[in-house]
Symmetry: C2
Subunit: 478 residues, 2 copies
């Protein structure tokens, strides 16, 4: 049995159980207590530390819940095997969540320039029009505005979304297949309830990390799958025995890959081989495509049974409107109604009405066309500047969206680059935050340079400052 030399700080703000929990967790993570070792009983440890037994129990239970310990009846607590195939540990995630929270806090500390790949333009928003729509949608207009209404959202709004998706994205669906929700993660929470727990979902690694966390919260196993130049590797999907795969075929985040037809067909064939296999297609930002012809959705190529299509107004309007939509295959509609049909919609009725009017009279598509030009101009400015820099090795992912990926020519690590920029009040985003398989150091350093919410002057200023910072560390060519 392992002896635990825990130093408790009774004056700490941190609760005693948390101190015990953190100590043991770190010992396990550092390999100081190994797989299979038995921990002292709660009674013994409580006696040694002169604290109540329930405090120790609480710490142990937390460790059990997080998969660090397991109990064996009548035998006690033993350390679990935390290595293995799905090694993307809870631990990493907690650190990342904390990291993101810190980032959120720092946001309010007013960076001089934020190269965010998520923020949308705030200068060219149709303020007047939006205000007019808001002013005109009142409770007094229609008594039904008081009621939450259909669980999936207002039928008229779902109808205009369905036409828009068909026209713009080649999506084939009836309004009845559309479910509105307050953000993609909420819709994924619903989906996980419908598909059932303990499924394996394969995800592109790198990916939209919040989706992975959502699946994990729903007790899904997230299988991180490698990508080649065509996107997700189907053989790896198969080797994981995945029940579902979450992909962004039209513009992969954060890499920018467009999945070619051949890979799409392979993916659809994989799904069609079993009746309850699904492809979750997150079509997050393909409204903003600057080069090449528009790429229709994977959903439109399917027989209607295997693709769950996700889209959002977070990028096409604003993150704060909190409206996303999910297109379900018809065969899942019954399951939706029985498992999730009792939930009231998460989108306020008036918000639905405003959106309906925005879409219905064509304003939305006019807005998209205007914004596409705005973003394209910003991107051209950024690319022009980047191409002159010796610290830039390679640029990719410039066909769509709000960011380009920049592979750096530098002797620094990603963390060092981010910290240097931070010192000059510039917020940068590194690729490694979107990695599922943690642990390996990201080499080469790749930045996600977002330009959605900065103007040309800020882009120029930002790149100038970055040049000052990065020029001294350019790697000499061998």
């Amino acid at each position: 049995m392992k002896d635990l030399l825990i130093q408790l700080d009774h004056n700490s703000k941190k609760a005693l159980y948390e101190q015990i929990y953190a100590f043991i967790r770190n010992e396990i993570a550092d390999g100081k207590i190994s797989h299979g070792e038995k921990l002292p009983s709660t009674r013994l440890l409580a006696g040694n530390l002169q604290i109540s037994r329930s405090t120790v129990e609480l710490a142990y239970e937390q460790l059990v819940a997080e998969g660090y310990l397991q109990t064996r009846p009548c035998a006690g607590y033993f350390v679990c095997d935390i290595s293995g195939m799905y090694e993307w540990k809870q631990e990493n995630r907690k650190e990342t969540a904390e990291h993101i929270r810190q980032m959120e806090q720092k946001r309010s500390e007013n960076y001089r320039i934020t190269f965010s790949p998520f923020r949308v333009d705030e200068e060219h928003f149709p303020f007047r029009l939006w205000q007019k729509l808001n002013r005109n949608a009142n409770f007094a207009d229609d008594p039904s505005f008081f009621h939450a209404g259909d669980s999936r959202g207002d039928l008229r709004l779902r109808s205009v979304i369905s036409s828009y998706l068909h026209r713009a994205r080649g999506v084939n669906c009836e309004p009845e297949q559309i479910v509105l929700g307050a953000g993609n993660e909420y819709l994924l929470l619903l989906l996980a309830q419908m598909l059932g727990s303990n499924k394996v979902v394969a995800m592109e690694d790198y990916t939209y990390i919040q989706a992975a966390w959502t699946f994990q919260n729903m007790e899904y196993i997230v299988a991180p799958v490698g990508m080649d130049e065509s996107g997700i590797c189907i053989d790896e999907v198969k080797s994981y025995g995945a029940d579902a795969v979450y992909v962004m075929p039209s513009h992969q985040f954060p890499i920018g890959t467009v999945m070619p037809l051949k890979r799409r067909m392979e993916l659809l064939q994989w799904a069609a081989a079993e009746p309850d296999r699904y492809i979750i297609e997150d079509d997050h930002d393909s409204e903003f495509r600057y080069r090449g012809k528009p790429i229709p959705s994977l959903q439109g190529m399917d027989d209607g049974n295997h693709v769950i299509y996700l889209g959002t107004f977070s990028k096409s309007i604003a993150q704060s409107v909190r409206v996303s939509y999910m297109v379900l295959p018809k065969k899942l509609l019954g399951r939706y109604l029985s498992d999730c049909g009792f939930y009231s919609t998460t989108v306020p009725r008036i918000q639905q009405e405003v959106l309906y009017r925005f879409l219905e009279n064509g304003d939305f598509e006019r807005h998209l066309n205007r914004m596409k030009n705005v973003y394209k101009t910003k991107q051209e400015c950024l690319l022009r500047l980047l191409k002159k820099q010796s610290w830039v090795k390679k640029i990719y992912g410039e066909n769509a969206g709000f960011h380009v990926n920049v592979e750096l020519n530098t002797t620094l690590s990603e963390a060092e680059v981010l910290a240097l920029a931070e010192g000059k009040h510039i917020k940068l985003f590194g690729l490694s935050a979107y990695r599922l398989k943690k642990g390996e150091v990201q080499k080469p350093v790749i930045l996600l340079l977002g330009y959605g919410n900065i103007n040309e002057a800020q882009i120029k200023e930002g790149i100038e400052i970055l040049s000052e910072l990065l020029d001294p560390y350019v790697e000499k060519q061998g």
Copy 2:
């Protein structure tokens, strides 16, 4: 082995697997196939029906997922035991979900009078004020309105909610403990992710049924606990080995019980006996109390560690605003941040701003006072009329909220009463829809007569029609 005489309809809109699934499910539910019986293999049944094997597999897998069948390796599919302690079957729930959906549809069929216990008054809403607040909260005002902001919701809004809750409900909390979300169910989804799966949650039976379904979707075991005149029976909570208990101590829905101090203390003691036990206090409508002194929240009596407090603006403003709040014990804050802190808020930023202004300048509490009088007047009218009726045996639950419970003096069943009223385009709500333990016929018949969204003329007309319908069926006194 059981032979299955399934008649497939190849012209039906219903998919073949659904027809097979529904047939077998009904056979099991009706007891025509018993616990332990073996079903024909997928190969055999597919051959008999001349359809593909994968179609049969899909039907079987659905039945496995729903707990009707189980697989034994190398042996095949067997019927599960669907009776037992937690006998509140998925089946019932599906029917109820379908029932609710039908009810929703019928709503649009324009009932003459709806005695809904959920709908709020739509005549006395402060339309002008709300429109003004809406008009004045624009994206142009503040760049931060574009961003989703804090995962828990805007800090200023959480601050005014925290003061309001302290003043009006005796809740002790800091703004940091408050999490806003698009409805109670969404907050329960978050809570279940934080507390972990496979927990047992004890609920009052009868209860707010959507909360039970939400817990079930999150793989919780819902333990239906009886109530006496003081509310939930603690001994039963203990006998189920519950990890959490979901209660409405200030005004139980749908019964109307107020939990007295002694039972509250017992409940708090139960929770305090283990470090990770929680009481979920749903304080859904105690803003509207008409008799006796206000009843402070259970949260305010706790040491701050065991009560999770839930409240909503659905009843105090409108169901369609989709804003609820959850007050977490401080010790759960870390878990919230690590497990759920990455979720963007589900409440649109502008909606938060409107609410903030409504609360901040006192309009909300003025609105509550005004509405309390509106509801009280309607309730008095209803009670006056009910007391004259021979079909009314007993009235209770009139101290708060939007409905009174009326025990009928009738030879009819609840379903018959509802159907009779439906024939006259009157929508009634029976108590049995809120029962967890299904199966037993509800006797005596108890109606939830809601008066929130009907005026005095409609109340009079409705009771007159009900009298015509029910007078012929009054039970003769023995």
